[in-house]
Amino acid sequence: MDALMDWMLSTPINQLVIGYAWSWPTLESLHFLALCTLMGSLLIMDLRLIGLQRIIPLSAVHSLMPLAIGSFAINLISGLGFLFGDPNTYFQNYAFWVKMGFIVLAGINFLVYFTKVEPQILKLGPNDPTPGSAKVVGVLSLVFWFGVLSYGRLLPYLGTGGG
């Protein structure tokens, strides 16, 4: 882990992130904007899976998926920027690992949705009730992603070395 942190600190990415006064706030602004579009699209998709607003066709809800994935990609890249800028602070903070744990759980939940649930529900018409598996995946998705958001925001205040 120490070797990884030393390597991160030696990269040009590290210089880019901490070498300019505007880099960090720019990354933060991107991270916040994309978390909004990620959570906004997830709220509509997951609440529809749970059973809210059944007049929305599930295939139409699915059209929000590129927005959710694109937003996550922006946050993955900006998040890696923070990590390369100040690896020691993050790796030593338990809240960071809890946040990463929630992201892994959300990823597993997404794979279950993608492989098991989606093939069943895309055949359903508007107003058809969603199966129990879709409701479970929808609830878990919201729990895990709000967990990611909460621990991400609490990160500077929890654990050690935060600031």
Binding site: P25, C36, I44, S150
Partner: protein, 172 residues
């Protein structure tokens, strides 16, 4: 009460005598301001709630604005009315958590132009949501009027700049 004492929230209910003149000084010195500023869980819990409310209000607003502009056109507009209701819950969470955060540093916030710009944009954003909500709820299957689309386009810009200003508030 023992639980409240343990988590530090009990400080919120004990008044603190005013030490600075004026309403802002009184607010900062109030039990709420003192609690949010000094108690260990007070400030982070309000910060976390503020992020959750932001994601709900701004996230849903941006997706609805994009739908009004013509993206995700398979989603019936009228079905989004319900999601405006959820967005307003996020707004309520942020009004309350934001008031608590403001009370912790009222005097310095009121002279910070970044903060004041953010507040103006948040109010404008809320106005756009208030205008778009009935327009979306009453939308038929035909195209929306250009004025409605213009408001949605403006709302996207307003929310983006509001988020950036909110983030920069931490730096000034």
């Amino acid at each position: 009460m023992a639980f409240l004492e343990a988590v530090g929230l009990a400080e919120c209910v004990h008044g603190v005598p005013a030490t600075q003149a004026g309403f802002l000084g009184w607010l900062e010195a109030s039990g709420l301001g003192e609690c949010v500023r000094s108690s260990t869980p007070g400030y982070p819990s309000m910060i976390a709630l503020h992020a959750i409310g932001m994601a709900v209000m701004v996230g849903l607003s941006l997706v609805i604005d994009l739908r009004v502009l013509g993206f995700f056109s398979g989603i019936p507009l009228a079905a989004l009315k319900r999601f405006f209701g959820i967005a307003w819950i996020g707004f309520g969470i942020n009004f309350l958590s934001g008031s608590a955060l403001f009370s912790a540093q009222a005097i310095s916030y009121m002279v910070d132009w970044v903060f004041l710009t953010k507040m103006g944009l948040v109010l404008l954003g809320a106005v756009t949501a208030g205008i778009l909500q009935p327009a979306v709820a009453n939308a038929g299957t035909g195209p929306l009027p250009g004025s409605t689309k213009a408001i949605a386009g403006a709302a996207i810009v307003i929310w983006i700049v509001a988020i950036i200003m909110g983030r920069l508030t931490a730096y000034l």
